[in-house]
C-alpha cells in the first residue's frame, strides 16, 4: 500500500467513524450527542460560536476561492 493510499484510507476511516457516531447517537445505542447537538453545545459559548463561524468561513474561502488545479 502506498503512502497516498494509506492517507486516503485514514481519512475514510475518520469519515466512517463520524457516520457511525452519528447513526449510533440517533438510534440511542450509544449515550452520545448527535453532531448537531455537539455543535450546539460548542456554539453556546461566544468563543466557540465565533470559532465555528470562522472555521466555516475559512472552509468556503479555502475551497471556493483558493483551490487550484492538482500539481503535475
Amino acid at each position: 500500500m502506498t503512502g497516498r493510499a494509506a492517507t486516503i484510507a485514514a481519512y475514510l476511516v475518520i469519515l466512517a467513524t463520524v457516520a457511525t457516531l452519528e447513526l449510533a447517537s440517533r438510534r440511542g445505542s450509544l449515550r452520545i450527542l448527535t453532531f448537531s447537538e455537539a455543535i450546539a453545545v460548542i456554539a453556546r459559548f461566544p468563543v466557540g460560536r465565533i470559532a465555528l463561524l470562522l472555521l466555516w468561513w475559512w472552509l468556503g474561502w479555502h475551497f471556493l476561492a483558493r483551490s487550484g488545479p492538482a500539481p503535475l
Binding site: 486516503i8 450527542l33 455543535i39 456554539a43 465555528l52 466555516w56 468561513w57 474561502w61 475551497f63
Partner: protein, 139 residues
C-alpha cells in the same frame, strides 16, 4: 372587512420567506451558487464573494438573526467522542501539512481542492457552504 386570502397574497415574498424559511434559504443559496460558481478560483472576485458572504454573516451575528435554536440538555461526557475524532482528524491533517502535503501524504485540501476548480462542483460547494452557514447561525 378582512380578506385573509388577499392579505396572504399581499404579504408577498417576505411572508413566503417567513412561512418557509428553509426553502427560502435553499432557493437563495442555489441562486447565489449559480451566480458565484462560474467565477474562477484563485481570482480576486472569488475572494471578494467569500469575503462578502463572511461580512454578511458578521452583520447577522451582530443583529441576532436568524433566531437561534434553544440548546437542549447537558453535554457532559456525551460530547467526548466528537472531540476525540476531531482531534484525530486535526492531528492527521497537521502531520500531512508539516510533511509538505506531498503526493504520498496529502492533506484533505490537496485531495479535494482540485475538484472545486470546475463549475459543477463549485455550484454544489457554494450551495452546501451557504446552507451550512445558515445552519450554523441557527445554533
Amino acid at each position: 372587512m378582512d380578506h385573509p386570502v388577499a392579505d396572504r397574497r399581499s404579504a408577498g415574498l417576505r411572508g413566503l420567506a417567513r412561512a418557509h424559511p428553509r426553502r427560502t434559504i435553499a432557493l437563495a443559496a442555489a441562486t447565489f451558487a449559480l451566480v458565484a460558481a462560474p467565477i474562477p478560483s484563485l481570482t480576486w472576485p472569488a475572494t471578494a464573494v467569500t469575503l462578502g458572504v463572511g461580512t454578511a454573516v458578521l452583520f447577522l451575528v451582530a443583529s441576532g438573526r436568524p433566531a437561534r435554536t434553544p440548546p437542549r440538555g447537558v453535554a457532559g461526557r456525551r460530547i467526548l467522542p466528537w472531540l476525540v475524532i476531531s482531534a484525530v482528524f486535526v492531528l492527521v491533517e497537521l502531520a500531512a501539512l508539516f510533511t509538505g502535503s506531498g503526493p504520498d501524504f496529502p492533506t484533505v485540501s490537496a485531495l479535494l481542492g482540485p475538484v472545486f476548480t470546475d463549475t459543477g462542483p463549485r455550484v454544489i460547494g457554494y450551495f452546501a457552504w451557504l446552507c451550512a452557514g445558515y445552519w450554523l447561525l441557527k445554533r
